[in-house]
Amino acid sequence: MRRGPWLWAAALAAYAFLYLPLTIVVIYSFNDSRLNAEWVGFTWHWYHELFHDEDMLIAAGNSLLIALIASLSATLLGTMAGLAMHRYDLKLLNFMVLAPVAMPEILLGVSLLLFFIQVLNLTLGMLSIVLAHITFSIGFVAVIVRAQLTSIDESLFEAARDLGATPWETFRYVTFPLILPAVIAGGLMAFTLSIDDFVVTFFTAGVGVQTLPLRIYSMIKIAVTPEVNAVSTLMMLLTLGMIVLASRIAPDVLKGKV
């Protein structure tokens, strides 16, 4: 039996299924026609339109701000969680940090909504979105940081202490520089997770605040306009760039050691 060609065909079909829709979105974002039906001609028009759409710009600004704050906070907290998970072998801690990663987003969205409203008595808005995004990003950062820590020879930390470094100096001069790539990669991951999150944001946004994904959703309820294609293309580019950057900074960590 020669399985080669069939495997190739299957793989090709799978990748086509994944990437064809994305390619179509990109192509139609440059199409000089209101309809996503046939190719008419090349234009920058929809991008031009996009950058003059007031609501869209506000949504984009919100998304960037949320992603920035959420990813920075998640990086800080996730790094601390990763360090703790590495240092102490606590099953409960591992579970608590990793549960939000595995939990269905809709469940997370609903429970956060109830928590914010009924327990914290919080008005939904930017703050609630940021808190929600931090919640689901911490686990990702923690896992990446812990993976990096596991790959470091434990005797390096002891050597630092042995040579006169206090626990804080050991962290400052040895541990932190060695996990920095993972911390940055984790931060970039958190950023991409935040900027394109829809489900959790949908539940925790309230009425006042729109983010890019929410805005796109409300637009396609009417029709998938070329403008939606254009904004999707830009988001794709940003996300892709971040992932490429992350895999450059910490190649080992993202290549399945996690």
């Binding site: 020879d153 005797s155 390096l156 002891e158 050597a159 630092a160 202490r161 042995d162 040579l163 006169g164 470094a165 206090t166 100096e169 001069y173 040895v174 520089p177 060695l178």
Partner: protein, 361 residues
């Protein structure tokens, strides 16, 4: 001055006693080695001295002051790790000067001391390189320089030469001896390689299952092992069951079944009726024809059973009349000839009256 004293140190892991009531005194300026098989507790002792492990009982005194309450970074004790533990993100220079930076030395002082340290370990041109750009021997020297630069009172070395190949290891042994003499710092070296221990140390503590079996200078340890474990662990040795009987004059004499009396010094405390082994090193056993062995107090007739050619020496195994095998080592001084005596040939075996030791059961 740095005299280290371990007083009744015990360390348990659960029910397992890794270090069992160990007491040792290591003199100032001494090259002291902990020698023993894998798992006997050597690393655990070293880690307790460094401050990474804590004794369940006992004291660790450095010049009379107990170290146990002092955190690792405050102890004037530095370690050369088996894996070297060089910081991969720092250059050779930054690695070596790390202890000075942590001790808040002035920049000019650090530069000066770094220069001296680099020269001392012959790494002059390598200060800007990263550890992974160095050979194993160079990494080893960086680790040594880094551990010595802030002049600890005690240097700990855990299997520090084990990762090197045989040739390089011998070179590093010589360097280590010279370095220790030069800096005059007390070294505590851990190894399970007995040859290394004998070559390097002023004194050796042989350990077994968490206990110290014997502490002595290399030659005494080799020549007068205190028990069967030490005898067996260090070098080659033939052990023949023997017992102490009463001679016609009422003195003690050592007798081997099927051989008769063996003339050897019997230590004090051995009494008539004691059983044990007579242990003798291969190089103390002579083999040859009748005439040349006649003046030896102990001589027997044997048969060459087998021969192991090792280049510089050949090891003969000779069967004694009572069936036991004894090893004899002969230097191969005649070039190109491995076999002076044929396998199967009848041969005379003998040794001096002061050779070998009786080891009590």
């Amino acid at each position: 001055m740095a005299r280290l004293e371990l007083r009744n140190i015990t360390r348990r892991f659960g029910d397992f006693v890794a270090v069992d009531d160990v007491s040792l005194t290591i003199e100032s300026g001494e090259f002291f080695t902990l020698l023993g098989p894998s798992g006997c507790g050597k690393t655990t002792i070293l880690r307790m001295i460094a401050g990474f492990e804590f004794p369940d009982a006992g004291q660790i005194l450095l010049d009379g002051i107990d170290l146990v309450g002092t955190p690792a970074e405050k102890r004037p004790v530095h370690t050369v790790f088996q894996s070297y533990a060089l910081f991969p993100h720092l250059t050779v220079g930054e690695n070596i000067s790390f202890p000075l930076r942590m001790a808040r030395h002035a920049a000019a002082d650090i530069r000066q001391r770094l220069k001296e340290a680099l020269e001392q370990v012959r790494l002059g041109g390598k200060a800007g390189k990263y550890p992974h750009e160095l050979s194993g021997g160079e990494q080893q020297r960086v680790a040594l320089a880094r551990a010595l630069i802030n002049r600890p009172r005690l240097l700990l070395l855990d299997e520090s030469l084990a990762a090197l190949d045989a040739k390089l290891r011998e070179e590093m042994q010589v360097e280590l001896i010279n370095l220790q003499r030069e800096v005059g710092i007390t070294f505590v070296f851990v190894t399970h390689a007995q040859v290394e221990a004998l070559a390097l140390s002023h004194r050796i503590a042989v350990m077994n299952q968490g206990k110290v079996e014997q502490v002595d200078e290399p030659a005494r340890l080799y020549g007068f092992p205190r028990n069967r474990f030490v005898a067996d662990f260090i070098g080659q040795i033939t052990m023949i069951p023997a017992q102490v009987e009463e001679s016609a004059h009422g003195h003690r004499r050592l007798v081997v079944d099927g051989l008769g009396e063996i003339v050897t010094p019997l230590p004090q405390g051995v009494v008539i009726g004691d059983k044990g082994v007579f242990a003798i090193r291969p190089e103390q056993v002579r083999i040859g024809v009748q005439a040349e062995l006649a003046e030896l107090k102990n001589h027997f007739t044997g048969e060459v059973h087998s021969l192991l050619y090792q280049g510089d020496v050949s090891v003969y195994r000779v069967r004694l009349p009572n069936g036991t095998m004894i090893e004899a080592l002969l230097p191969n001084s005649a070039p190109g000839r491995a076999e002076l005596f044929k396998v199967g040939a009848e041969i005379k075996v003998g040794w001096r009256h002061d050779a070998g030791v009786f080891l009590h059961e």
